[in-house]
């Protein structure tokens, strides 16, 4: 179902403007989708487990800035590791509060979203991080060059999709995530350590937001404190468009990625058709509501 929507959307856009199918535009779509796809995969873990994470945008910004700052002092590898770890740390904080203190995920991650954004501005002084002569050349190259004809940035979600799909579908841990989201109490009574499982989904989400943040810094050639705004909403919309249930227990990584493509292509189409950027926000918001409503109707009918 999501794949069909995507194909229809692409076909419609291609008919409306001949700039859609240009190599430049398609590459653009792929690269933009890559970063969002990584975030959406992390979000899928959380949503399948029955939760919700609004802090991914801020986390991505934090990771990008920390990666850049560390990179300038200690090299690319250290920088990337620091960035991803920062993301995982935010995820862990979210996970502990939500799973062990039982605070509502919406409130918790809303708080984290604001808090982390504040931290980003504090450590960067509000300015982009790129050092006197910019970030290391190889890192910037990663953000713009290709390997075997495909952008490095596009390889990242492709590889992650393969690995994470394996984790989510073929390991006991993955089954336990689905079980926890599908029925927390029943999973608990079947021996699943639900609190640990829920916390772990947030760690995945934070770490992947960290990866996305690093990718974004490579693309933007600097750590931007303002990066990632509204990413969380696009990610959640993508996951819901991909068929995941907000109640938990349903959804796959592959379909979430399709959902990402739908959101990005939609934005791209509106751009190409010269639609005002404010109207684009209206469109994205409307799609989120429509997707969530369609999902509720579907789950009602199947009962």
């Amino acid at each position: 179902m999501p794949l069909i929507s995507l194909i229809v959307l692409c076909a419609a856009t291609a008919l409306l403007t001949n700039r859609f199918l240009s190599p430049f535009n398609l590459t653009n779509i792929l690269v933009q989708s890559s970063i969002m796809a990584v975030i959406a995969m992390g979000m899928t873990f959380v949503i399948v487990g029955g939760g919700f994470d609004l802090s991914v945008g801020s986390t991505a910004a934090l990771s990008g800035c920390i990666a850049s700052m560390v990179m300038l002092e200690a090299g690319i590898a250290a920088g990337v590791a620091a960035g991803i770890s920062a993301g995982a740390a935010v995820g862990l904080a979210n996970g502990l509060v939500i799973a062990f203190l039982n605070v509502n995920p919406f409130i918790t991650t809303l708080g984290t979203m604001v808090l982390v954004r504040g931290v980003v501005f504090l450590i960067t002084g509000g300015a982009p991080v790129s050092g006197e002569s910019g970030l290391p050349g190889e890192f910037i190259a990663f953000g713009s060059e290709r390997f075997l004809g495909i952008h490095y940035l596009v390889w990242v979600p492709a590889v992650l999709l393969a690995v994470l799909s394996f984790v989510l579908h073929a390991t006991p841990y993955g089954r336990r995530v689905y079980a926890t989201g599908g029925g927390r109490e029943a999973a608990y009574l079947a021996g699943v350590p639900v609190r640990r499982v829920i916390a772990s989904t947030y760690v995945w989400c934070g770490a992947l937001a960290g990866v996305a943040g690093v990718m974004l810094a490579a693309r933007l050639q600097s750590g931007q404190p303002t990066a990632g705004e509204f990413y969380e909403l696009t990610a959640i919309a993508a996951v819901v468009l991909g068929g995941a249930s907000l109640q938990g227990g349903e959804g796959t990584l592959y379909k979430s990625v399709i959902g990402v493509f739908i959101m990005i292509v939609l934005g791209n189409a509106l751009n190409l058709l010269n639609v005002d950027s404010y109207w684009q926000r209206v469109a994205v918001g409307a799609v989120i509501i429509a997707a969530a409503a369609a999902e509720r109707l579907r789950s009602h009918r199947s009962q």
Binding site: P172, G182, G183, A186, A187, L189, A190, G191
Partner: protein, 485 residues
């Protein structure tokens, strides 16, 4: 006074795969107490829900005072004069007696477009209707301050105020003491004299014999018998309720050997033994079961095969070889997942091969165990929510059988299940026990415990109050005598 107040003619109803009622004829006349009895899953609840406007029958007709009626909701039924008093009473404890009685139809004083509650009239009406029940509390007292028996009178008063002519009482005496039951009976006698029709659902067959003018026995969704006062006794009812299945095989008493699990003194599940936990509503027996599984809120210490173990979570209990079938099916299954996923959930570690799950081994295990418990339809990819109640319960059992647990804890394992599935589940429990395991069952169906258990522990207020060995028959009075009052 012999015209039918309410009647159901040829009523049938099915829910998904389950046929709840199949061509049932039933009627109650004004001034009559008509009892409906039957095993769990026989169709009693469905019948009264149809009469009370909760469900619409698939086939058949409901008549009120001779005229066909179609209730779209319980509200319609109440407006027509049929009220159901459920076991949980549906009162609002935080509100006063008068407010509860008036709820839904509050007396008001109007000032133009505004309306204010007329509290004086509300209290007066409450007093008046409660007087009919010989009950005289302060109407301003909150319902929360009343005991269950008195709350029940408030619920009845509420319906009397609406001038309901047909009362449906669902297990009204389940939570009452002897004295309170006597009071309720005199209230019912009064209502009968005033021409009210009463439909009385109960498991307590001796009460039914005492109070009912007529008694309908339901079995498997059909009317198995209709008897008139004076012409039937408890045994007749039991015979009609069970029918052909009256001769269930009784477990041969194997000598109980070493204890598999011990918690409090006497709460031991031993090898090859089925132990029952019998307790009236609120006895805490269900909490005991959860406690033995590590799901009781606080960690429990048990002795499993001689080793002292601390169970702080169900995962701990499962590691020791205990499985639990919880009192609500929604707690025993992940409803939106497949039968296969549900069965494998506590068995994932056994199927691990260097980090990933062995699909084929999983498929084989699922197929084997689905065959063993006879799950129908035999499709492992079907969502758990699509199965009937009996089959869902079998899936819950299957996941523990796949794990070859040593001790099976069961909380109301056959509640709301059709009789055929019930017999299968009993056989499966006896199988576990015959292979060297033990079972501990909590059930409010004392007949079930009598048929199934080698030993029955009577529970009161969270503690074991008495032990009965090999109860040949078990009913409320034996239990009460054992507990001591």
């Amino acid at each position: 006074m012999t015209r039918p107040a309410v009647s159901a003619e040829g009523v049938s109803k099915r829910f998904g795969a389950t046929v709840a009622l199949d061509g049932v004829d039933f009627d109650v006349t004004f001034g009559e107490i008509h009892a409906v009895v039957g095993e769990n899953g026989a169709g009693k609840s469905t019948l009264i829900r149809i009469l009370g406007g909760v469900h619409r029958p698939d086939r058949g007709v409901v008549r009120l005072d001779g005229e066909e009626c179609h209730f779209a909701s319980p509200h319609d039924a109440i407006a027509a004069g049929i009220v159901t008093i459920p076991q949980d009473l549906r009162l609002v404890p935080a509100l006063s007696i008068a407010e509860n009685i008036a709820l839904g139809d509050l007396p008001v004083r109007r000032f133009g477009p505004f309306a204010i509650i007329d509290r004086a009239r509300m209290r007066a009406e409450a007093r008046e209707v409660l007087a009919q029940l010989d009950f005289d509390p302060d109407p301003r007292a909150s319902v929360a301050s009343l005991g269950f028996a008195e709350r029940q009178l408030v619920a009845i008063a509420k319906a009397l105020r609406r001038r309901c002519r047909v009362f449906i009482l669902d297990e009204p005496t389940a939570a009452l003491e002897k004295r309170e039951i006597a009071r309720l009976f005199s209230v019912l006698a009064r209502m009968k004299r005033q021409g009210t029709a009463v439909i009385y659902i109960s498991h307590r067959l001796d009460e039914v014999v005492a109070i009912a003018d007529r008694c309908t026995v339901l079995r498997d969704g059909r009317v198995a018998a209709l008897a008139h006062r004076g012409a039937f006794a408890v045994n007749d009812l039991v015979g009609a309720m069970i029918g052909r299945l009256a001769q269930e095989a009784v477990t041969a008493a194997l000598p109980a050997s070493e204890p598999l699990l011990e918690a409090q003194p006497d709460a031991a599940a031993t090898v090859r033994e089925v132990v029952g936990l019998a307790g009236l509503l609120g006895s805490g027996a269900d909490r005991m079961i959860r406690g033995l599984f590590g799901a009781g809120g606080e960690p429990t210490t048990v002795t499993a095969r001689g080793d002292r173990r601390r169970l702080a979570s169900p995962a701990d209990a499962i590691a020791v070889g205990i499985g639990m079938v919880p009192g609500e099916r929604a707690l025993g299954l992940i409803m939106n997942q497949s039968v296969r996923d549900n069965i494998l959930l506590p068995n994932l570690d056994a199927l691990k091969r260097i980090g990933w799950l062995d699909r084929d081994a999983g498929d084989r295990l699922v197929a084997e165990v689905m065959e063993l418990v006879d799950i129908r339809p035999r499709r492992p990819e079907l969502k758990a929510s699509a199965l009937s109640g009996g089959n869902q319960q079998k899936v819950i059992l299957a996941k523990w059988l796949a794990r070859r647990v040593a001790v099976l804890l069961l909380d109301e394992p056959t509640q709301g299940i059709d009789v055929a599935a019930k017999v299968q589940i009993h056989a499966l429990i006896r199988d576990v026990v015959a292979r060297g395991g033990g079972a501990l069952i909590h059930s409010s169906d004392l007949g079930e415990l009598a048929r199934l258990c080698d030993r029955v522990l009577a529970v009161r207020q969270g503690r074991i109050a008495a032990t009965l060995d090999r109860p040949a028959s078990l009913d409320e009075s034996t239990l009460n005598n054992a507990i001591g009052g």
